[in-house]
């Protein structure tokens, strides 16, 4: 090993061997995934197909292979999954081991899908989420139709409890509304669940002043659910005829927004003298955010002005009578 050229060659070959060993699949796995999940490598057995837009299917008899597109309902985004509520899970925590063979057997495909209550129901650990009450609400909701499950809105492979942990309310509102718009602004998805006519959200809300501001500042469910004081997020979606169309339901001192959007933070009742003060972190709602101090001051000034005018008038009348 005295020849430096030989040493350098061996060194370069060693580096090249490391790089070759690092396949494309490995590069897709970000260190952050390993921080939250102990089964990242195992999950790749599924995600090598379900984490891609296409997958290869082979016929062992003919030896032929074919590139197929992954149906969007079956596709899983790794980033979304490893940052979701279920980020620590192995695929086989919820799905049968039968799925580890490919092509998947018909037995595996017959597997019943878990729903929220199957894991979270009647369990003290999850009691604060009131999953059982949510189920009751869902049963009487307009969404309780054939084929519609918790997963229709809360995709288990990407779902985040955004509202509950919202640092940025704006972002949480967007996340929440996108849940509705995934079907209500996508007729292809909408028709998978119902035969109803297409809903054009912008047109059906054309009565709403400052529509863009409303869509940005509040969630759809503010007007489209029935308030339930025991639930942080109401799940009884109302028929459109029962949706709130009375502006003062929100634009008033006793605004329903305090029972819906701002329920999480409603302990902070007043901020800087503002009624429903928590709202002003995010917006200003005419009628709902009166400033108590300004109101009092205005009454004082208005009353004082009237008193001065009244007194002046009295003196003028007295003078006129004297004359």
């Amino acid at each position: 090993m005295k020849n430096p050229i030989i040493v350098l060659t061996i060194f370069l070959l060693a580096i090249a061997a490391t790089l070759v060993a690092q396949t494309d699949d490995t590069l897709k796995l970000k260190p952050s995934y390993f921080e939250v999940n102990d089964f990242v490598e195992d999950n790749e057995a599924c995600l090598q197909c379900h984490g891609e837009t296409t997958f290869i299917i082979e016929d062992p008899n003919s030896g032929k292979s074919k590139n197929e597109r992954m149906y969007s309902e079956r596709a899983i985004d790794r980033d979304a999954f490893y940052s979701s509520e279920h980020k620590a899970f192995a695929c086989t925590d919820c799905h049968s081991y039968e799925y580890t063979t490919f092509p998947h057997s018909i037995e595996a495909r017959m597997e019943e899908q878990f729903l929220c209550l199957d894991c979270h129901g009647y369990d003290e650990t999850f009691a604060k989420y009131h999953f059982e009450d949510i189920e009751v609400e869902f049963q009487s909701s307009i969404h309780n139709i054939e084929g519609f499950t918790c997963w229709s809105c809360h995709v288990p492979h990407s779902y985040k409890a955004f509202m509950r942990n919202a640092d940025d309310l704006q972002e949480a509102i967007l996340y929440d509304n996108n849940m509705c718009l995934r079907c209500h602004a996508n007729f292809d998805r909408f028709t998978l669940l119902t035969d109803r006519e297409e809903i054009v959200v912008v047109e059906s809300h054309d009565w709403l002043p400052n529509q863009a501001a409303h869509f940005k500042k509040v969630r759809c469910i503010e007007c489209h659910t029935e308030i339930n004081d025991s639930l942080l997020i109401a799940h009884k979606i109302l028929p459109k005829t029962e949706a709130v169309q009375n502006c003062t339901e929100c634009h008033s001192k006793d605004s329903r927004l305090m029972h819906t959007l701002y329920k999480f933070q409603s302990l902070e009742e007043r901020k800087g003298g503002f009624v429903n003060g928590i709202m002003i972190n995010n917006t200003y709602v005419i009628g709902a955010n009166q400033n108590v101090w300004l109101n009092r001051l205005s009454f004082l000034i208005f009353g004082g002005t009237l008193l001065v005018i009244g007194f002046h008038t009295f003196l003028r009348i007295r003078k006129q009578k004297k004359n």
Binding site: T248, D254, Q290, L294, F302, I309
Partner: protein, 207 residues
């Protein structure tokens, strides 16, 4: 007793004034209704208030443009531009007249002439109302009409909160101005004399 008649209010001023008055009154009523909205019965239904408030605000803004342009290109502007010397003593003199002199039957310290339409107190308050208050009211109102276009935060608070609070405060101050304006308009020879002037254009006063 002879009556002095001076033609002080040309047609465009009277038309501007009546439009301004009607719009402002509607804006006050609808504004109060919106600000104190309840989930029960309101002075005016919320949606109607929003519609009326927006419509009147647009008319008021255009009308304000007429006022500014009119004052730029006609002689009416001089009543707002030419500031008196020794303003403070004159303001005090006018104030004393309203507070004391008027009850003693003293003559107006600054009688109305063709060159002097406003007394010092009127002049100062009109300039502040029309050239400071109104622009602030209109700018904040436009911001609220297009909430999606305004900055998200101003001075570290929500842009909506900033403009709405500004709008409410300026609106309130101008409403108080209107109240005092209406009252001082009863201080002519007879309570209705000055109102009549704004209809026929002539200022009338016993000599």
């Amino acid at each position: 007793m002879a009556t002095k008649r001076i033609y002080l209010y040309p047609k465009w001023i009277r038309l501007w004034h009546i439009i301004n008055a009607l719009m402002f009154l509607t804006l006050i009523v609808t504004g109060i209704s919106l600000h104190y909205a309840t989930r029960g019965n309101n002075l005016i239904p919320f949606q109607l208030s929003v519609g009326l408030h927006n419509a009147c605000a647009i008319v008021l803004t255009i009308n304000y443009g007429v006022f500014v342009l009119g004052n730029m290109f006609t002689g009416n502007g001089m009543y707002y531009r030419k500031w008196r010397k020794n303003l403070w003593p004159k303001l005090w003199k006018q104030f004393l007249f309203y507070a004391v002199g008027i009850f003693k039957g003293e003559p107006h310290p600054f009688p109305i002439t063709k060159k002097q339409k406003f007394n010092p107190l009127q002049k100062v308050s009109y300039v502040f109302a029309m050239y400071f208050g109104m622009p602030l009211l209109i700018i904040s109102g436009i911001a609220l009409m297009f909430p999606e276009k305004i900055s998200i935060t101003i001075f570290n608070i929500s842009g909506l909160l900033f403009y709405d609070t500004l709008h409410i405060i300026v609106g309130f101050i101008l409403s108080i101005f209107l109240l005092i304006h209406l009252y001082t308009c009863t201080l002519g020879d007879k309570p209705g004399t000055l109102f009549k002037s704004m209809v026929n254009g002539y200022h009338e006063e016993h000599e």
